[in-house]
């Protein structure tokens, strides 16, 4: 059992992150803790296993007890077998060379004898159906498999509470379903589970109680069923409005003909043909690993096709380098931190135009306005919130005024509020005549912003049409190319 009493906490040199939180988690309970980015959710996770205060320092007021152990008096290595924490970043969570060593790590920390460790590894792998992965390197696993291995690596310690920080993060609908089923089974076996998430979905209804955190305070505490209204009002479930008024033209901007891409004898794209019209917003839908990102990288010369042709405004581009196409095609990847290298937001956004010698003052003014950056121009990009970082990163791509904007999983790791704001942004950009391609497995977002969907499955185009027609296509759902309607938001 976990009990938090009158908790106030601040990291060294910051303001209060948690401002008076009180609740308990009983044995066998399945608790959901939701909230926007920056609401204090992860901080709460670090409190549960003593990382706060022992690792982070800072000022902690109030008491946290886990199985009657006060976290102030017990160090993390005394508490880790009571609360098993699965962190958000799988690359950090999985730090061994094989899945077997990964699961063994915590057991070795407990000082268990070799035979007992082997037994526990076998048992947990049988329960979570991971036997086939034991010899694999965690780096080679899919997103869903990584999450399950991370769960196994703490569950084998037999903790009374399993705590997961954003376990559904950037998983597609299929992986979400697998993790969700696993967690339900673990809970049915009598274990308490705490899921901390900013993404809302049907998994919310698996839980027995729901807490919503807002700016370090509890906004809601009650049943998941009655949380829906609160989530909508707090915009944690996004309200998507219109798609933008600009009607797509008839003239093609980009044409791919029979595009194939192979790496190390493995076919990633097979005979992909598509036509993108000027001014349209196209969503490229598919599961993780369906070839979406590989296809996008062909649009700006990052990859060259093994065979096939690609034309942009009537000119063949398949042999061009990204630097030759950067002022025509802007490609924004998932992680904004891959870009930041300047001390000020303004310099960051202007880095591309400066190198390409394409600074257009009036266009930059529009960028500041559309992305609401005026107040942030002199701030460091590293110190912004996740949503602000994403806005700066998008503005820095658009600053060179490309004709085509390509976005790879733009909603990944973002809360409902940002998704909503991004949909509005997409509509504004569309009204300004910019052609947009969005690769995503976030079907609700794609439905809200795109004029047309192209569905990619195992490297092939399997459907091309209006979102309304494809959204409920049973054939595509059975194929696994798309998820069920409302599979993300429940």
């Amino acid at each position: 059992m976990i009990r938090l009493r009158h908790i106030r906490y601040r990291y060294p040199h910051t303001g209060w992150v948690l401002k008076g939180v009180d609740f308990s988690v009983t044995d066998g309970e399945y608790l959901f803790i939701g909230g926007a980015n920056g609401s204090g959710k992860s901080t709460l996770a670090y409190l549960f296993n003593g990382l706060i205060p022992h690792y982070f320092g800072g000022t902690l007021q109030g008491t946290v007890t886990i199985d009657d152990l006060n976290t102030l008096e017990h160090k993390v290595f005394e508490l880790f077998s009571h609360v098993g924490l699965v962190l958000q970043n799988a690359d950090a969570q999985l730090f061994n060379s094989t899945v077997e060593d990964e699961i063994a790590f915590g057991l070795e920390s407990l000082g268990l004898p070799g035979g007992e460790i082997d037994n526990r590894i076998r048992e947990i792998c049988r329960t979570l159906k991971l036997e086939d992965l034991l010899g694999r390197s965690p780096a080679t696993l899919s997103g869903g498999e990584k999450r399950l291995v991370a769960i196994a690596s703490v569950l084998c310690l037999n903790p009374s509470v399993l705590l997961l920080d954003e376990p559904y993060g950037d998983l597609d609908w299929e992986a979400v379903e697998r993790v969700r089923q696993t967690l339900s089974e673990v809970n049915r076996s009598g274990k308490s589970i705490i899921v901390i998430e900013q993404r809302m979905g049907k998994f919310l209804h698996d839980t027995s109680r729901c807490l919503i955190l807002e700016q370090g305070k509890l906004l809601y505490q009650g049943s998941p069923q009655s949380a829906h209204e609160v989530l909508l009002n707090a915009h944690l479930l996004p309200h998507y409005s219109t798609r933008g008024n600009g009607a797509p033209g008839k003239e093609p901007l980009l044409i791919a003909q029979d595009l194939s891409y192979r790496i190390k004898e493995k076919e990633i794209l097979t005979g992909v043909s598509l036509e993108l019209r000027k001014g349209e917003t196209l969503a490229l839908i598919g599961r993780n690993g369906s070839g979406k990102t590989t296809l996008l990288k062909h649009f700006n010369g990052l990859l060259r096709p093994t065979s096939g042709r690609l034309t942009f405004k009537g000119e063949e581009i398949q042999d061009k380098a990204p630097s030759e196409l950067a002022d025509q095609v802007g490609l924004s990847f998932q992680n904004p931190n891959d870009q930041f290298f300047k001390y000020r937001v303004k310099d960051e956004v202007m880095a591309g135009p400066t190198i390409l010698r394409k600074i257009q003052e009036d266009w930059l003014q529009e960028m500041w306005q559309v992305f609401e950056l005026r107040a942030l121009l002199d701030r460091s990009p590293y110190r912004l919130s996740e949503g602000e970082k994403k806005r700066v990163s998008l503005a820095s791509i658009l600053a060179t005024r490309p004709k085509l904007l390509v976005l790879d999983e733009p909603t990944s790791g973002q809360d409902g509020r940002f998704r909503e704001a991004l949909a509005t942004l997409m509509a504004e950009l569309k009204n300004r005549g910019i052609t947009i391609v969005i690769a995503t497995h976030d079907l609700d977002f794609a439905q809200a912003v795109a004029d047309r969907w192209i569905v990619l499955h195992e490297g092939r185009v399997v459907a091309d049409g209006a979102p309304e027609d494809l959204w409920r296509d049973e054939g595509l759902i059975r194929l696994g190319a798309i998820g069920r309607p409302n599979s993300d938001v429940g």
Binding site: F77, N96, N335, G352
Partner: protein, 221 residues
């Protein structure tokens, strides 16, 4: 090879590196290269080496060119072949011994657990850092910041270094969190793997050491 005790592998690896440094004559170095290249298909590593060659040819080439202009052809050849042999020995060693095995071997010979773990974890994260570098290059190229290895792009390299450093610090911090949360700081760790050097392995190590001593004596003469 897989069944050998990691300490045996470590010992053999160190002796192979010593042999590369001891060799002075171009002919001896070339014989070493031939032996190493012949060993690769036997260890089923030939294909992987071909893949890695493209990364270390530029280094070998650069050493050859610098030595050629600074000294003469013979010195350039000796240095380039020695570097090639050294890289090939390291390649075989890291392919044959997993980071965990290296860590276990280091602990068994008395290196403290924390230090051995730090070394093996750094090895484990090399591919991940490589992946991060690729992502950063792609993200920057997509907005016109060219990071290909060209002289004109030297000024752009801060755009690679800064995000890489910032993300490496974040990763290191999160890794520390993950390790703490799985009991890294706890005293009395156990190890489920029990290693034992067999008589055959002792024989192997002794033979290798004898050969190394004879080889060193031969090269001196």
């Amino acid at each position: 090879m897989k069944r050998l005790d990691p300490r045996t592998k470590l010992g053999l690896g160190l002796m192979a590196i010593a042999a590369v440094f001891i060799a002075k004559e171009p002919k001896t170095l070339l014989v070493e290269s031939i032996v190493l290249l012949a060993a690769l298909p036997l260890l089923r590593m030939g294909k992987d080496l071909l893949h890695s060659l493209r990364y270390y040819w530029p280094m070998v080439g650069l050493v050859f060119i610098i030595a050629f202009f600074s000294f003469d052809l013979l010195v350039a050849l000796v240095l380039a072949v020695r570097l090639f042999n050294l890289l090939t020995v390291s390649f075989i060693f890291f392919r044959a011994v997993s980071p965990e095995e290296t860590g276990d071997a280091l602990q068994k010979i008395g290196v403290p657990y924390g230090l051995a773990f730090m070394l093996t974890t750094s090895m484990r994260y090399v591919p991940l850092i490589g992946q991060k570098i690729r992502h950063i290059i792609e993200a920057q190229s997509s907005r016109g910041i060219d990071l290909r290895l060209r002289l004109k792009n030297v000024g752009n390299f801060m755009a690679l270094l800064m995000p890489l450093l910032a993300q490496s610090f974040v990763l290191a911090d999160e890794l520390a969190l993950a390790m703490e949360s799985r009991g890294f700081g706890r005293q009395g760790r156990s190890s489920r793997k029990h290693y034992r050097i067999t008589f055959v392995e002792y024989g192997l190590l002794l033979s290798a050491l004898t050969l190394l001593v004879i080889f060193a004596w031969w090269e001196r003469g």
